[in-house]
């Protein structure tokens, strides 16, 4: 159990960290990651990006033909890559896109271009194994 005091100290440290950041620089980096990831993932055969709104946050939901998102999640986890899978508490949206579930990779200030290349390679391996 975390005490109330520990919680407040932790929250304070998190707020200090967030305030120390150059928010414009963080946003620019995350958008560059998104652009790189969109290119890298779109190049994978059988991969379909779900959700392509302009100015969206730095994340990609996607499905891969022949590979269920949960299998993707397990296989990527084995490569040290954490993504979210399932319907993300958004079943009406899944119905709208006519998919049972999606995989979702999100990017933040601490992610790198190299990590996105590893993500793409891992998705390729999952497809080779399962599909």
């Amino acid at each position: 159990m975390i005490s109330r005091r520990e919680f407040m100290v932790g929250l304070g440290a998190a707020v200090d960290f967030m305030q120390s950041l150059d928010r414009d620089a963080v946003h620019a980096h995350e958008q560059e990651l998104l652009e790189h990831a969109t290119d890298a993932l779109s190049a994978i055969e059988g991969l379909r990006v779900i959700g392509t709104a302009p100015d969206k946050a730095s994340l990609i939901s996607f499905v891969v033909e022949g590979v269920h998102p949960h299998d993707l999640g397990t296989i990527l986890d084995g490569d040290g890559i954490a993504i979210r899978t399932g319907h993300h508490c958004a079943m009406p949206v899944m119905d709208f896109f006519e998919v049972p579930a999606t995989a979702r990779a999100s990017f933040a200030l601490y992610n790198t271009f190299d990590e996105i290349d590893r993500l793409a390679a891992s998705i390729g391996r999952a497809r080779a194994l399962i599909a």
């Binding site: 998102p69 397990t74 899944m94 049972p100 579930a101």
Partner: protein, 150 residues
Amino acid sequence: MELTDLYRDVILDHNRRPRNFGTLEQANALAEGFNPLCGDRLTVRLNLADDRIENIRFEGQGCAISTASASLMTEAVKGKTRGEALALFDRVHRLLTDDAADAEDLGKLAALSGVREYPARVKCASLCWHTLASALKSPDAHAVPAVSTE
């Protein structure tokens, strides 16, 4: 733990080419299973004659583990009595959750033992079995409530 322990060739094969997949005309027992957290859903239809599973088919959508488990299940229980199928359900459930479980004479179903190293995936493999058990235990095919693993 290697991924190939989870995704064994038998599992991959039954996922790519599920056996007994589709609807079953003149089914006299059925149950539906859902895993609302992950979106897996399937319907198991049975043709029971004198307490024996004459035929069984399933349809639905799910991951490789859930599809393969359902496919292997239909092969394993076809021709078995209600009691034999339920006893097999108990054995498979132990196989999925208990490291000490014995896989002897389980045949191809033994391939599911790799799932127990992945606790988040156990429900993928067990959904179809819970659904089958529900269909077998209910006397009235149309009164069976949907099974949920949550």
